[in-house]
């Protein structure tokens, strides 16, 4: 299991488009990927789940990945978040 903390830098936080990108990317891996914010844990493969969290700009989230391809998954999730979802 690997865990990493990220700070969200998008102006609008994780709104519809970033949520879709996160869910799409996460669904490509066999590992279970979840987002943890304020003690609330959400499956990162669920777009509605991500959106219901309403992650605002400046918020800290943990990405927790567990499974056979966890390292590869973390690299790509990290890239997506650090590139501010290409916005």
């Amino acid at each position: 299991m690997i865990k990493k903390t990220f700070s969200i830098k998008n102006k609008l936080g994780i709104h519809a488009r970033p949520a879709a990108l996160l869910a799409q990317k996460a669904s490509k891996y066999d590992s279970s990927i979840s987002i943890v914010k304020d003690g609330q844990k959400i499956d990162c493969k669920s777009i509605l789940g991500i959106m219901m969290m309403a992650v605002e700009c400046g918020a800290d989230i943990d990405i927790v990945i567990e499974g056979s391809d966890e390292k590869d998954a973390m690299v790509n999730m990290e890239k997506l978040i650090n590139e501010r979802f290409y916005e």
Binding site: D43, K45, L48
Partner: protein, 313 residues
């Protein structure tokens, strides 16, 4: 878990508590630490054992009588302990008039004293429900929460197994959606789990290929509800040939949510299985089981009767 101060209940508009403060704004920041309510009649007469300090202290007719006794009998005196810092407040019910010295003592201790028109029983009922709801332990669960024949069913399973599609089929059959994907669950008093939508105004479902659908718009207001008691968990799993699935339905299987055991049914998914029908059946069967009807047990009894008869012959 939400925290409440005395000021919060004084200002609360959603439930009608009809409260007013007799001691002004002093002490309104005191925290209410439990949803339990306490009647301090025994404490007034000198018995402080097992006195729940974090609880709202409700004064009704009994306490008024106790205060009267205290006035007549010098043996009893309002103990300073009654105004200690960890007691949130006193609430006088049914518009009783408190003796002036009581309010003076409270003011010195910066202890809020509130008054309501409601009778003690009515007030306790309303404030308990309010505090119990706000202070209830909560989690969020992954899955779809449906009302199937009036029974709260939580459908769980890995992402992409078809939970949302299953929900759509159930909706089409006239059942109701509480929440898709992320379900809030609260533990209410009496070991009851209540599931609710995270955003109460809308009920969305995500369908791969179509995107996000507003269920209320498509299926109508009758197809959604905001909360329901969780009574059954149906876990969808990819069919595993090695694994043994329940074939009889005699054993009780449980899953634990917030420390409470809930019956769980594991349903293997394969092409050609109509999951909605199976979930409808599971809900109906669960109701029968709750009333003591176990089809497998009854079949077993019949079978034993027949084999015994055959043996005699």
């Amino acid at each position: 878990m939400k925290k409440y101060t005395v000021g919060d209940i004084l200002k609360e508009k959603n439930i009608i508590l009809k409260l007013q403060s007799l001691t002004g704004k002093k002490g309104l920041k005191r925290e209410i630490k439990t949803c339990e309510i306490h009647r301090p009649v025994l404490a007034f007469l000198g018995h402080y054992d097992s006195f729940p300090r974090g609880a709202v202290q409700v004064l009704g007719e009994e306490e008024m009588t106790a205060l009267n006794i205290m006035r007549k009998n010098k043996k009893y005196e309002l103990n300073r302990k009654m105004f200690s810092k960890d007691i949130p407040c006193f609430v006088v019910t049914a518009d009783f008039n408190l003796p002036k010295y009581f309010i003076r003592k409270a003011e010195i201790a910066k202890m809020p004293v509130l008054r309501t028109k409601l009778s003690a029983t009515r007030f306790i009922d309303r404030i308990f429900v309010f505090l119990d709801d706000g202070m209830a332990p909560k989690i969020t669960a992954q899955g779809v929460m449906m009302d199937v024949y009036g029974m709260g069913v939580l459908i769980t399973g890995e992402s992409g197994i078809g939970k949302s599609e299953c929900a759509l089929e159930l909706l089409k059959r006239g059942h109701r959606l509480i929440a898709d994907d992320i379900v809030g669950i609260k533990q209410r008093s009496g070991s009851i789990l209540v599931a609710h939508a995270m955003m109460t105004r809308h009920h969305y479902v995500e369908v791969r290929g179509l995107g996000i659908i507003d269920i209320e718009d498509v299926f109508g207001i009758g197809s959604v509800r905001n909360a329901i008691r969780v009574e059954l968990v149906v876990r969808l799993e990819e069919w595993d040939k090695v694994k043994d699935y329940d074939r009889l339905g005699i054993e009780k299987r449980h899953t634990t949510i917030l420390g409470i055991e809930i019956t769980e049914v594991v349903v293997p998914v394969t092409a050609g299985r109509n999951l909605a029908v199976i979930i409808e059946l599971a809900a109906k069967n669960q109701r029968l089981k709750a009333e003591g009807h176990y089809a497998a047990k009854e079949l077993e009894r019949e079978l034993i009767k027949i084999t015994k008869k055959k043996k005699k012959e």
